[in-house]
Symmetry: C2
Subunit: 242 residues, 2 copies
């Protein structure tokens, strides 16, 4: 009985640790989302101070990554998780790497926003970039939501949506080339907006990566690098992990 109590306690405390690390990932995700929101706001409103602030605050994202990383190593060393628990910890390790890089891209956008604030506004007031940013922010938010709910089916649907982001980014690049060719004096400014577009496109990629880790975590299968046809299970297959 005493033995059972101990193991029950031990196991509850382990579950609490796993819950805590998941919550920390979501907190880090929230911070990264906010950094992205502020960076785009700085761009669209031409607020160079806000852009600088995003750059300055990136260290908070980095600090969280290091701290969660240490938390995961501690859990592996002390709790020796296996199967689904181990997959959760490994998915966390990978997810925070991607979140940290989303933070880096938001920092880049903040830097470019500060630089663009002193330039003439483009005719469309960055409407196309704002639209791309909205798509990407929704993708990131939904990826984190899938992580929170461990929803592999929804995660696979979010992965598909990254294609729309890529198409929008391609359109933005083509548009930028046309503007530069019409008026070479815009080259510097348009290039800066194209860098913002590329940063957004990469954030979409990271959101997609996070979704793929969710599928791995739930199903125990690695769907990275598989084409749609090669996927070992359809959205209707449900959770089959051991």
């Amino acid at each position: 009985m005493a033995q059972q109590d101990i193991s029950h306690h031990y196991s509850r405390s382990f579950n609490e640790e796993l819950g805590a690390v998941r919550n920390h990932v979501l907190t880090m995700g929230g911070l990264v989302e906010e950094q992205l929101r502020l960076a785009i706001l700085a761009l669209v409103s031409g607020d160079s101070d806000l852009g600088d602030q995003v750059v300055r605050d990136d260290h908070k994202v980095n600090r969280m990554e290091v701290s969660i990383d240490e938390e995961c190593s501690r859990i592996i060393a002390l709790r020796q998780p296996t199967a689904g628990d181990l997959r959760l910890v490994m998915a966390v390790v990978k997810t925070i790497t991607d979140l940290e890089r989303v933070g880096d891209e938001a920092e880049k956008i903040g830097y470019l926003a500060a630089r663009l604030a002193s330039e003439e506004r483009p005719r469309d007031s960055y409407r196309a970039l704002q639209h791309l940013a909205d798509l990407v922010a929704a993708l990131l938010h939904d990826a984190l939501d899938c992580f929170a709910r461990m929803d592999a089916e929804e995660a696979m649907a979010v992965v598909e949506r990254d294609e729309a982001v890529d198409a929008e980014y391609e359109a933005l690049t083509r548009q930028g080339i046309t503007i530069m060719m019409e008026d070479p004096r815009t080259i510097r400014r348009v290039l800066d907006t194209m860098w913002v577009g590329r940063a957004l496109e990469r954030i979409g990629d990271h959101a997609k990566n996070i979704c793929e880790y969710v599928v791995y975590m739930v199903h125990g299968k690695d769907i990275r690098h598989l084409s749609r046809d090669e996927l070992p299970f359809g959205p209707e297959a449900g959770n089959e992990a051991p």
Copy 2:
């Protein structure tokens, strides 16, 4: 005595497993280096077939990442490594993520090389890009070498060299802007070469990441995101890990 034999055998086989996974990382690193070399060769020699081949072969890199990743999960689940052994496995998990992304950047360069092969050659025959590629290839090679020898001191020296890559990339971008402004008909082509430059710059970042994992693996300290002054040990400190 029998017990000791078993544990000795067990432990030797564990060491063999760790050695094998390290070798697999180096094999993957070699493949990625070759992809980068061929992509740049395709660009400089204007060989679109070779560019296409690099794109086609990227799946080999992806397959190795998935396989080594599974190997690491298996080691953690079955061997329950702690301390230095666990740090090695975690460093491997992170290193292969970066190597896979180096592969993606090489694939991008292959794609751009194939596209650029039908365009007029620039006056300098991509000499500036070739120079940047040489710097980056040496950085990647030395990062993998540090990983192979678990040489944290050398790894820290390699990290510093990434700054030269960034400076070279900035110069390339400035030069590209000048050429585009002088002759707007070159915009498309110059942009493609700037994308190649950016891909190389990112490969430099990944090489830097790998070096940081080496330091973590050897010293047990996470030096990511620390400035030079904040580093917990100098190059003269030697290996202090427990």
